[in-house]
Symmetry: C2
């Protein structure tokens, strides 16, 4: 593990994005979203993904300078066509607009089609929470989730993020996929040669599969099978399946984008996807300070619950990530050596200079 | 099973509510919500519950004529104190107001404290969907759900309902608790003397329990243990736990009501609870007809998926309930004989006349 300064990592990522054709402000915004994921310890969605964005940009699948087209706008709403632009900066810019609308009217809502992978959904929800609003962010993704009773995938891992502020800058932030797990988790089990727990995935016959190797093969070649919805196989899974479709409706049916089975990743980059953002001002209901005082009571109460036998602590959503973020502030952002090397190679290919290798642990 | 005419069942339920002190229009609204659950085959939330509402009303815990107090109101929002009134009619009346606001401005949102059990959340979400809006309805409930890593309950079964319209009156309607199952399901296993599947509940030590008898005992006496969140024990459960807390935030922290462990059912009726409603006009994003055409394509595609080995059909959320509702229209609403008898006894106690027993199957 290397430990790298947040600003340094943001600056390098931003320079890479700019060299790939993004406008300077979009490059900075995109870098900030990516590095925020690393800082929170969500490394699957951090700078480790930069190579994949770069591949998409170089292939012209992600359009570096595409700016969103306004389809419809009211004082509270915004329907956009992202025209294949960069999901990270489009997400950030759109959530800014949604927050401005909410600041004026109380609520802001947006549905966006033809965008690209936007990183962690929680980033956008937290933007609203820091402004004394409830924030919601969603995106659809390539269809990997298999509906209850089916044998083929028809909805994405379709994450839902929800954030609400407490006192002292604390934020309750839920950021969850609506499938039982994501493909990344299956890949970890494949690398480690371990069987999957039941309740994560089904094979081409629609029955529970515990073999990560054949599962990933079948998913890759669209032979059927895939991830189970949150709630697992049988009855319980209808909840995750329903939530996944809900995300597809708000993101893609609302904006007129691509949904369901039609959303497919390419070999080099992620599929064109759709997003949904919502911000609601706390003081529509009561003074923001009163809301945050009750949030603080609630979060303290959750932390005070007696842990289960063998467990150490009871967390609330977003708490662990916040602790990692503070750790990152103290000692730098932890980055796998391989990720750093890929970033450096990418930078050098683009003719950028890179400072010396950051310090070890 | 008895089969009873929808209007007849509504009329009897409405007369009972009126005899219990409700205003005629509130009695009718409450009856309609309850009977809608029976018509959809969600019998746990239909007229089988009328006795429990009646007990609450007679004990003065549910206030028959309490009218909601407006705490804050804007053209898009409404914060209410229900003052202990009847959740069913308050839910219906409030969702009407939320829909009116959305009709004017595009979005309507409400958070309501100090209300009572409001029946099926899906009813309210569907009200919006029938008006070319996306509808969301939530309520918190008595704390029965145990957070990930904990050994005691701290959030309710906190249901989320989401509805969006398709063509031909079809509606996608998800209505789900955020715990793995509800207490009612545990009671069924207890009656049948069957062990619980793992992943539904934990005992007083916070570890998975499969014994419904000791579980219900411990839950009743607040000794600890309870229902697992959607996603089960371990990591996956943090999603259901997070969703349950999200519902608590939108319903109770927003309105200034009671949340978390403080929400407790009494022996005779349900706890004072809080609700949240949201309606978003489809045409904020695109013409409603275009939205519904895509919904229709999506739902048809889900229905066309190849079923898993041994499964017959792939449904979308709300489809089964809609089919039962059509069956109810054709042959009457199926009602257990015992439920009918309880209704008749209740009516007679209140000095109401009851028509002859409805026809059998």
């Amino acid at each position: 593990m290397l430990y790298i300064d947040r600003e340094e990592l943001e600056s390098l990522s931003s320079r890479i994005f700019e060299a790939l054709g993004l406008l300077p402000e979009d490059a900075r915004a995109s870098a900030e979203v990516l590095v925020a994921a690393d800082a929170k310890g969500i490394r699957s969605h951090g700078t480790a993904r930069l190579k994949r964005y770069a591949d998409g940009l170089r292939a012209g699948i992600i359009k570096a300078r595409a700016q969103p087209l306004v389809l419809q706008e009211t004082p509270i709403s915004l329907a956009l066509d992202a025209q294949g632009g960069v999901g990270l900066s489009i997400g950030r810019n759109t959530m800014e607009k949604v927050i401005s609308k909410a600041a004026e009217t109380g609520v802001g809502v947006s549905s966006i089609r033809n965008s690209n992978h936007f990183g962690i959904a929680g980033y956008y929800a937290e933007m609203a929470a820091r402004r004394d609003m409830i924030g919601i962010a969603m995106t659809n993704t390539a269809a990997l989730g298999v509906p209850t009773n089916a044998r083929e995938a028809a909805f994405g891992t379709n994450p839902i993020a929800f954030a609400a502020p407490s006192l002292d800058g604390k934020i309750f932030c839920l950021d969850m996929s609506t499938t039982a797990v994501t493909r990344g988790k299956i890949e970890v089990y494949e690398r480690e040669g371990k069987p999957l727990p039941p309740g994560w995935a089904v094979g081409t016959d629609g029955l529970v599969s515990t073999d990560p190797v054949s599962l990933l093969e079948d998913m890759l070649h669209l032979r059927g099978g895939g991830l189970l919805p949150l709630g697992g196989d049988g009855e319980g899974g209808h909840k995750g399946y329903g939530l996944g479709v809900m995300v597809d409706i708000l993101c893609a049916v609302a904006s007129g984008g691509t949904f369901g089975r039609a959303v497919r990743d390419s070999e080099i980059t992620s599929a064109l996807v759709c997003h949904f953002f919502l911000a609601i001002r706390l003081d529509l209901f009561r003074p923001a300070e009163d809301f945050k005082k009750d949030m603080s009571r609630m979060l303290a109460d959750l932390n005070s619950l007696r842990p289960a036998e063998g467990a150490e602590r009871v967390y609330y959503a977003g708490q662990r990530e916040k602790e990692v973020e503070e750790e990152s502030r103290r000692r730098g952002i932890a980055l796998e050596e391989g990720v750093w090397e890929t970033l450096c190679t990418l930078a050098e290919d683009l003719g950028l200079s890179v400072k010396e290798k950051p310090r070890g642990p």
